[in-house]
């Protein structure tokens, strides 16, 4: 597997565009999925994922095979998504909610009806670390590679993010509120 990866990367580095296209094909679902989980807007997520692959193409020569290609791509994606989340010029996130089959009912009270609003209590970094774990199901070790930190660093970040969500959004986690969001989730 690793050998195949090395071969394809070498071919792409020698200018073989089709080799790079095969890298994109192999990883696009996971990268787009990560971007979508974090940004929650399909168009914005695909734009971000495209940026990730273009950046990967430009920096392919700096990939040293110290991690898997997917971890490296995830690392680029995580940075790109963080930049977008921090930029403050986000597009509206409704499209994902709509695509989800109207996850949040229109008539829900505004103070507790919207997952986006709940997640807004998290910093971009906290949101990202929870997404990597809860949505993408990365192991602590994989997360350490993506976040460029140690295993203890991962555990600490996860703990802080969960605590933030519990403390800042405590009023939203009353069983009734969580149940309502859960019922409307496909």
């Amino acid at each position: 597997m690793m050998e195949d990866e090395r071969r394809v990367v070498r071919e792409a580095l020698s200018g073989d565009r089709e080799a790079f296209a095969s890298i994109v094909r192999a990883h696009e679902v996971r990268v787009r999925s990560l971007c979508l989980s974090i940004l929650r807007n399909p168009a914005e997520a695909d734009d971000a994922a495209q940026d990730v692959f273009i950046k990967a193409y430009k920096n392919l020569s700096s990939f040293r095979f110290e991690s898997s290609l997917s971890t490296w791509l995830y690392r680029i994606a995580h940075r790109r998504c963080l930049d977008i989340l921090r930029s403050g010029s986000r597009r509206r996130t409704e499209p994902l909610d709509a695509m989800d089959g109207e996850v949040f009912q229109e008539k829900a009270p505004p103070e507790r009806g919207d997952a986006e609003r709940i997640l807004a209590v998290l910093s971009p970094e906290e949101r990202l670390v929870l997404t990597l774990r809860e949505v993408q199901g990365l192991t602590y070790e994989e997360m350490a590679g993506v976040l460029d930190t140690t295993l203890d660093g991962v555990k600490g970040r996860l703990k802080r993010a969960r605590k933030t969500l519990r403390v800042k959004a405590r009023h939203l986690f009353e069983p009734a509120a969580v149940q309502r969001v859960k019922e409307t989730t496909p």
Binding site: A21, S37, L96
Partner: protein
């Protein structure tokens, strides 16, 4: 092991990141600690409600879009090199400007004149020390010596503002 450590262990159990021995410790603690059990259940509900994966289908259209993006990023440099000879001349660019041509030409002439008038003069030449009058004759303006130096043949020459 403190209660906080055990609480961390139960979250790591939720994450599926424990060794068999730690897993046994966490499960045993959960069985006897209602607080940790409640907290873990609460987190599971929260995570399920807020962090759910939206399925993404493979898309060849996306792959092609990326490849087009890469090509378009590579192209400008190549195009800039290959098409340099096709660039319009300065005169052609001037002709393409909007407004009367004489106005643009006049503005250009005025800019050149302003540069000539206001830019400080540089010493125009070194003149032999014995013949500063030659420099004066050549310029019709006052001549000020601003320095002197010895040339390669041992002759002292002076510099003048003309």
């Amino acid at each position: 092991m403190t209660h906080d450590d055990l609480k961390d262990l139960t979250m790591a159990l939720h994450d599926g990141q424990l060794s068999p021995s730690d897993k046994a410790i966490a499960e045993s603690h959960l069985a006897g600690c209602p607080e940790c059990r409640r907290e873990l259940e609460s987190w599971k509900r929260t995570a399920k409600a807020l962090f759910h994966e939206v399925p993404v289908a493979p898309s060849e259209m996306f792959v092609q879009r990326v490849m087009r993006g890469i090509e378009s990023q590579d192209r400008p440099t190549a195009l800039a090199r290959s098409a340099a000879w096709e660039r319009p001349s300065a005169w052609a660019r001037l002709r393409s400007l909007s407004g009367p041509r004489w106005a643009w030409a006049g503005a250009l002439a005025a800019a050149v004149a302003a540069l000539w008038l206001f830019l400080p003069r540089s010493p125009v030449r070194f003149v032999s020390a014995e013949k500063p009058d030659i420099a004066a004759e050549m310029s019709d303006v006052s001549v000020d010596a601003i320095g002197s130096e010895t040339d390669g043949y041992g002759t002292t020459v002076e510099a003048y503002w003309l």
